[in-house]
């Protein structure tokens, strides 16, 4: 046999260790990328640290009797009635969910189960684009359109902001969120289940209500929880349309104006004297922030749990 070609000399085959320069370059790249990834952990730590360190001063120095059972939230006068904020937050969330749940869920059912591909291809991107409407826009709309046109017809006052107007605004903001997570959950239900149901002679509506929705329940639960978390954390709509400025008197009626946790923070920080006030005003910001952070963190972890469950199922 004749050797026509010697592909490599022995010297070329010498070592398989690779050029040290290349190995070093690869190692450096990996370290840099790792640094970028670990940055999120650093940010998480900094958030927790910032909240805890300032909130700790508040909790250490505050006269706790000023945080409960007072007439309202008057941070610049040293009155920090937490229930005022909690009740307002509760109402905004409830109203938002009452608005967003049927609309978001219905839209998701329509997109996932009924809409023809052509229709879906147009409507879904529109809904997604609208998910990007900034909350200040909804704040304006809630105050200047929803209040006079909707709240006034529901027995409230149309000329000013209220918890009800803000809640409706927050609800509109949450519709695309619920729709998109719910639709994903329904799309994840295998077609085999739909076919099995249809194969037994079930009508479409029966299949959707009895088979698809129950099968997607984990995802739908996640959608609701994420929406609640988002509604509680929404700031600008409530700040602009919640009907209270620097302070709020305790109220249990959604027709009144009040401050949610987020709106209280924004109003404390806004104005000409940026977060300068009596004594613990600055720290009270972080105290409320910590409360909000813990509540939304718990909700998000719960939602993640449900999302993981639907992934395991299908």
């Amino acid at each position: 046999m004749t050797v026509t070609h010697m592909p490599h000399s022995d010297a070329e085959l010498g070592s398989l260790s690779g050029s040290p320069r290349r190995l070093r370059r690869e190692a450096i790249i990996k370290q840099v990328l790792f640094g970028a990834a670990i940055f999120s952990v650093v940010v998480s730590f900094l958030i927790v640290y910032a909240l805890l360190s300032e909130a700790w001063i508040f909790m250490r120095d505050i006269d706790w009797s000023t945080t409960w059972g007072q007439i309202g939230w008057f941070p610049r006068r040293g009155i920090y009635d937490v229930p005022t904020l909690l009740v307002a937050t509760f109402w905004v969330t409830i109203v938002a969910m009452v608005v967003a749940t049927p609309l978001g869920l219905g839209a998701a059912v329509y997109l996932a189960e009924y809409a023809r591909p052509g229709v879906r291809k147009i409507l879904k991107p529109i809904l997604e684009i609208l998910a990007g409407i900034p909350s200040v826009v909804l704040g304006f709309f809630a105050l200047l359109w929803i209040a006079p046109n909707v709240v006034a017809n529901l027995g409230g006052e149309g000329g000013r902001g209220s918890i009800l107007a803000a809640g409706i605004g927050v609800g509109i903001l949450t519709i695309p969120l619920i729709a998109s997570i719910s639709e994903d959950a329904m799309k994840a239900v295998p077609d085999a289940l739909r076919e099995a149901s249809a194969g037994m002679g079930a009508r479409k509506v029966t299949t959707v209500l009895r088979v698809v929705l129950p099968a997607a329940i984990s995802g739908l639960a996640a959608a609701m929880i994420v929406a609640v978390s988002r509604a509680m954390g929404e700031t600008m709509v409530v700040f602009m349309a919640g009907g209270a400025a620097d302070a709020a008197i305790f109220t249990s009626s959604p027709y009144d104006g009040s401050l949610t946790m987020t709106a209280a923070m924004a109003s404390l920080a806004s104005g000409t004297d940026n977060v300068v006030g009596e004594g613990l005003t600055f720290q009270s910001l972080f105290f409320v922030g910590l409360l909000l952070f813990l509540i939304t963190l718990a909700l998000n972890m719960l939602a993640n749990f449900f999302v993981r469950r639907i992934r395991e199922q299908y």
Partner: protein, 326 residues
């Protein structure tokens, strides 16, 4: 025993196949769910019509002046406009692009291509997921703590130099804060895009002796580019629309007199405002001067044009590539 002919059976079946009347419940349900979607879209339609209608006075008569004007104390003022807001928003966007995009994409590359499935990786992923759910106002507190107030963490890591760098409540602080805020969005969307790169391409590159970084540069990034771009555009739009964190770090609503040009870097260490802040400001001032409602609506139209264009580009881009790649 009755004899049933084949014809009888067929005739009977034909009758039952017509069903027991029309499916009334089903039709109502169908219309109801379609209705919810159209109602949602209608609400948005009303919203857009409302701001256009309210802002029309400013937009139709003096659009140029409105874009180049500044904060004024009266709404009837030839120099009233959003220039300072555009300036702040422009620099916020620039910081997001310079800081959040590279960091987020790098983190996504690490998590998808380098990380082993170990506790560190799971911890990082958990941190990112949780950060993506933190309310924006809390990021404002972080910005306040890091970039505006001089603080020391754990008693020995001084952060005063950060404040010297940012100059306190300035566009730099705003940009850094919002870059941190959108980072999880950039990471998560980039991860999804990178995960979709076919393994055949990666193997092909490795098969001819590409190193990992060469494989990523030549295969993963080009293939994932449309998806990554979609994510970055969406996060950019989010950053431009955010107001709450800016209020917390001290964006201001008045007292700005200068009208800096977009390349004026010296103004980066001055007090600032941004487009969404102008809207909030003018809405709050309409009580004493009704004309500010018009100014706010006009500013909303400007903001919506920017934000919705970004979103639309992102979503059309994604849909196009999804279709192309089947």
């Amino acid at each position: 025993m009755a004899i049933v002919t084949v014809g009888d059976v067929a005739r009977k079946n034909a009758q039952t196949l017509q069903g027991a009347g029309r499916d009334v419940g089903g039709t109502i349900f169908r219309i109801a769910v379609a209705g919810t979607l159209y109602v949602s879209l209608l609400i948005i339609g009303v919203l857009i019509f409302d701001v256009l209608f309210d802002g029309w006075d400013q937009l139709s008569t003096r659009l140029g002046g409105f874009l180049s004007g500044t904060l004024r104390s009266r709404s009837i003022d030839d120099k009233l406009g959003v220039h300072q807001g555009l300036y702040g928003s422009f620099w916020i966007a620039a910081f997001v692009a310079i800081i959040a995009f590279p960091t987020g994409i790098a983190a996504a590359i690490y998590l998808e291509e380098y990380a082993n499935q170990n506790r560190t990786t799971r911890f990082i992923e958990l941190a990112i997921r949780n950060l993506s759910g933190v309310p924006s106002v809390v990021y404002g507190l972080l910005g306040l703590f890091l970039f505006v107030e001089k603080n020391t963490i754990l008693g020995f890591i001084g952060l005063g130099w950060l404040v010297d760098l940012t100059g306190g409540p300035t566009p730099i602080s705003a940009g850094l804060t919002l870059a941190i805020l959108v980072l999880p969005i950039v990471i998560i969307t980039s991860q999804e895009a990178i995960r979709a790169v076919p393994s055949g391409l990666k193997e092909g590159a490795y098969g001819v002796g590409a190193t990992k970084s060469e494989m990523i540069r030549t295969q993963v990034l080009p293939y994932a580019a449309p998806g990554i771009l979609t994510g970055t555009l969406l996060s950019m739009s989010r950053a431009i629309g955010e107001a709450a964190p800016l209020i917390l770090i001290g964006a201001i609503s008045g007292g700005l007199t200068a009208n800096p040009s977009f390349v004026d870097v010296t103004a980066l260490q001055d007090r600032f405002t941004a487009l969404p802040i102008l809207i909030v400001t003018w809405v709050s001032q309409r009580g004493r001067d009704e004309g500010f409602a018009t100014a706010a609506a006009a500013a909303i139209v400007v903001l919506l044009v920017v934000v919705l264009l970004l979103n639309m580009t992102a979503i059309l881009l994604r849909n196009r590539f999804e279709k192309k790649r089947g």
